[in-house]
Amino acid sequence: MNTLLAVRQLSMQIETEQGVVHALDDVSFDLHAGETFALLGESGCGKSMTAFSLMRLLPTGGRIASGRIELEGQDLCGLSEAQMRHIRGGALAMIFQEPGTSLNAVLTVGQQIGEVLALHRGLKGAAARGEAVALMRQVGIPDPERRLDEYPFQFSGGMKQRVMIAMALAGEPRLLIADEPTTALDVTIQAQVLDVMAELQRTRRMAMMLITHDLGIVARMAHRIGVMYAGQLIEEAPRERFFSAPAHPYSRKLFDALPEAQRRHGRLASIPGSVPPLTMRFEGCRFAERCEQAWLRCKAEVPAWHSPAPGQRVRCHLFDPAETRRATTSFADAEQHIETVQPAAQNGLLEVAGLKVHFPIRRGVFQRTVGHVKAVDGVDLRLDAGRTLALVGESGCGKTTAGKAILWLIEPTEGVVKLDGADLVALNGASLRAMRTRMQMVFQDPFGSLNPRLRVSEIIEEGMRSLGVGGSDAARRQEVAAIMAQVGLRSEMADRYPHEFSGGQRQRIAIARALAVKPQLIICDEPTSALDVSVQAQILNLLKSLQAELGLAYLFITHNIAVVEFLAHEVAVMYLGRIVERGPVEQVLQQPRHPYTQALLAAVPRANLAAEQGARAEPNHVKGDMPSPSKPPQGCHFHPRCPHAMDICRQTYPDSKIVDNARVVRCHWVSD
């Protein structure tokens, strides 16, 4: 194999107000033509900075301190800016995480692709247009002749990312760097885009550097994997080896922290502590502080590269041939079981029937209502005390709106919400407030859900004060301390402000705030989607043990199937404002009946080679985008994307059917 790119001892620094950040330190790797190299790591580990260094597109204050980046034998660090511009977009192209903001909103797609064609291939006029059309066709954009003259906002998220890919391909790159290309996309769309990228890479024999935090995507796409931690590459291995025998303790932890069905009854492994700040200088291994196998040498001496298997190398003292004794010691994780609560009597803590939230669309001179966005359009749910119901769906399906309507944060247009038999619609001010002590919410963004101007104790106390829980001031303070201990926060943190905490700790504060009023039901709106895998594991563990201790019920809103498998008892799948399938989690996730559920599950990348190879053999990913909830398709909302669509699907929306005793499906194609 010929080496396309050789990175040697690359170090990069950024000067900031806090001091010099050593964003990359001694990073070396090779990339071969036609191969996909995945750079894996959690946020802040330096994987994006590696990409920016390769492109020499450094952030303000950043500079490459030392090292070489050789592309086809030419050192990029030695090139002038003008020469480098020739490489950028030419031999070396890049696509970014947020297709929405990465395209220029005021230039047409054709102009933006044409720019690259003119710059790197000298194509202009009709020739450029023809080539642009061909490129758009290659990345699977339908009707490219017309869409070339449209602006980015007229494209859906997945289509925008395809445009980005077409733009990157326009310079005929030998290496495509993809920085979290599908993180902002829904799973079904992600699957489509990944298919396109894999296909293009095969046909063009192009090398690809895929930057991701998702082990599932790595399993689906990569040939070789590099794991990064705190600015360093710490392990490199071919895919098969990496998934069968990850070497570095950190890599193993990443696998163990994944929520999965088989871990339902235990705790997930999590990594204690947090990534060290890169402003500091390291004496030993960067992971030593958080590593369960660390010993004195790890803290004193920077580990060298060792090779436990052909093609695999790891930066860890455990694999030093001199330390073989240690490497064989057991890694067995102390598997802790959490007692799952037995469902109390089927008392139906929360019952939702026919819930609708419609937002009017106004038009014309007099702002008449000409239609409705049916964000939630007739949702039925039932949740028993001490159980978890997962509400699953892609963005825009109405799951968050449904959650907020249940909590009365958005007034529902229609429907019944009963908590313990009491209808919330009938409640007025005072009794609605009383009901609020029994039902609380934890939000998605740990940075947006805490008021940055209040101390942690004030944040936790607010609900208690407002709802009159906790008695006197002194009693309340004690209560706050107890709750903080319960969610794993130290009591001296009470006087600090949210900005001093990491994402995971903030989410603990948010959970403590909800718990403070002693609710029976917590609506969790994607509480872990903004967190890294290892931190997500901590929060999921916490939620699980709180449920066991306090008998809480969760309505868990998420798009992450793995989390559902780990946490939920029941699951409801939502598509365009309606529940299409609902039932016990084992049934629905093992044998999905609704075509949408099937498509959704097939699209999820698994951190498991066997599952992924099966998926790769028959990529039957669902086509098209989710329609707008303001103009849902006639009949079954899913029929334009459904492989089994029949005539009746185009005419009427299917009624609920009960199948397999316990599950409800709304589909014409499914037989009872």
Partner: protein, 484 residues
């Protein structure tokens, strides 16, 4: 009884109110950690610190000029001691300090440092004959026998005295400060001085100290020079221009700040209400501010100011002195400007509230049934407060500049009030004379530029520190690399 009677003018009262509010704000900011942190960022910049020193000087002068009194008239024989008469004229502590300057009036124009009047006049010689020549000034350079020969040396000497005195005053201010600051950090006086003057402190105390030194020297030099000369000359009726300039500082400062008293409650209250409640409340408030902001600014001020002038004239029994009349005009003008310019703050806050209302922490508070008013004061206002602050500091310099324009248009402060606008207005005709009378305009220009420039620079620093979107160019580093 007393030798004087304390007089509190309307503007004095409002100014005191404003200063009290500012003091409360400072104490509050000191207690809240995030505010302290942000303000530290402001004062870590050298430009901001230099600007602060200048602003403090203006503030000090204005405060002195806001403490008013009426001196007792000499008791007339036969009048009861208990019923003492007080002068109708109102003085301030600044007037008291500048008595010499105020009283040393000439007949007419004279140039800076001049010994002779600007115009020729008929002079009666000792022998009784009349001669047309430039007469000697009664105060300017009056102590010199032969001005042409002695003046340069005398000015130099006085300036030198000023520099030395200024330096000593500075030392007297600086050393105790350095001592206290050093004790906190456990340093000797020498170490502490070195740390401060070399800029090794977190806040830019070096800039503060050097700017203070400069100000001390300037003030002392001016003081020594004005003991014998009219440093900035005299105006048409022979008043010392330096005196007028110093008196104008208060007007400028009041003009820039008093409207805040109207802008803050209206802008904050209506802005938050419009953004948070939406619906018809929002419609109504939006209507209100569209109406006000669609009227050309100057016209609206003119209409309102003319109206206020009439009111003041019609109630001459209340506004019975020149001082109270011109003060009423100043206050009403400020309040009118406030009543007009709350709209921009309201609009900004409304937009920000619309955004913050959807923030998860506000949703969480609603989840707990926290009442609307409490959500607004506890969750929304503190997170939108940077907008209020930035708006205020930016408005200040605009208002100081507007004062001059309004004076020109004829709806500004009373011509009897000392203000930069009045001075500039007067200078229009003077520029047409030959030789040109440039000193009034120049004095007004320098003192106004110093105020507005430092206000703008300070506003920049505040905006950079408080606006999360503002770009933080590493200013101090830039300055340091320039010094190399």
């Amino acid at each position: 009884m007393n030798a004087f009677q304390i007089v509190v003018l309307g503007s004095d009262f409002l100014f005191a109110l404003l200063l009290a509010a500012m003091a409360v704000g400072i104490v509050f900011a000191f207690r809240r950690e995030h505010l302290r942190r942000t303000w530290r960022k402001v004062f870590a910049g050298r430009t901001a610190m230099v600007a602060l020193v200048l602003l403090l000087v203006y503030l000090l002068v204005s405060v002195l000029d806001s403490l008013h009194y009426r001196p007792a008239l000499d008791a007339q024989p036969g009048v009861n001691e208990m019923r003492r008469q007080y002068a109708t004229e109102v003085f301030s502590l600044l007037d008291l300090a500048l008595t010499r300057l105020r009283d040393s009036t000439e007949k007419s124009y004279s140039a800076p440092f001049a010994a002779y009047l600007y115009e020729k006049q008929m002079i009666t010689e000792p022998d009784g004959s009349l001669r047309r020549d430039y007469p000697r000034l009664t105060h300017g350079a009056a102590h010199l026998a032969d001005p042409n020969a002695e003046r340069a040396g005398d000015i130099g000497l006085r300036a030198l005295q000023g520099v030395v005195t200024g330096g000593l005053v500075w030392l007297a201010l600086f050393l105790p400060f350095a001592l206290i600051a050093g004790r906190k950090r456990g340093e000797t006086l020498k170490q502490s001085c070195r740390a401060i003057l070399r800029g090794e402190t977190v806040l830019a105390w070096d800039a503060f100290a050097w700017a203070l030194l400069l100000v001390c020297i300037l003030v002392a030099v001016l003081a020594f020079l004005s003991g014998g000369y009219h440093v900035f000359g005299t105006d048409a009726i022979g008043n010392d221009v330096l005196y007028r300039t110093l008196k104008s500082m208060r007007t400028a400062l009041l003009f820039g700040t008093l409207s805040t008293l109207v802008v803050l409650p209206l802008g904050i209250g209506l802005g938050l209400a419009a953004g948070y409640f939406g619906g018809w409340i929002d419609d109504l408030i939006q209507y209100l501010y569209t109406v006000i902001s669609s009227i050309p600014y100057v016209l609206l001020i003119a209409a309102a100011a003319l109206m206020m002038q009439l009111v003041i004239e019609q109630h001459s029994e209340i506004f019975n002195t020149v001082a109270s009349r011109s003060d009423a005009r100043l206050v009403s003008l400020c309040l009118i400007i406030g009543a007009i310019s709350w709209t921009s703050l309201c609009r900004l806050l409304r937009a920000e509230t619309l955004k913050l209302r959807e923030q998860d922490y506000v949703q969480a508070a609603r989840c707990f049934g926290v009442p609307s008013l409490r959500i607004m004061t506890r969750h929304i206002l503190p997170n939108a407060f940077h907008i209020v602050l930035i708006n205020l500091v930016l408005d200040f310099s605009a208002l100081v500049l507007a004062e001059a324009v309004l004076s020109y248009v004829g709806v500004g402060v009373d011509p009897a009030t000392q203000s930069f606008g009045v001075m500039i207005n007067g200078a229009r005709g003077e520029l047409a004379r030959e030789p040109v009378i440039w000193w009034s305009l120049t004095a007004a220009f320098i003192f106004m530029l110093a105020l507005v420039l430092s206000a703008n620079l300070f506003a920049d620093a505040v905006r950079e520190a408080f606006d999360p979107r503002a770009r933080t160019l590493p200013r101090r580093r830039l300055l340091r690399s320039a010094a190399r």
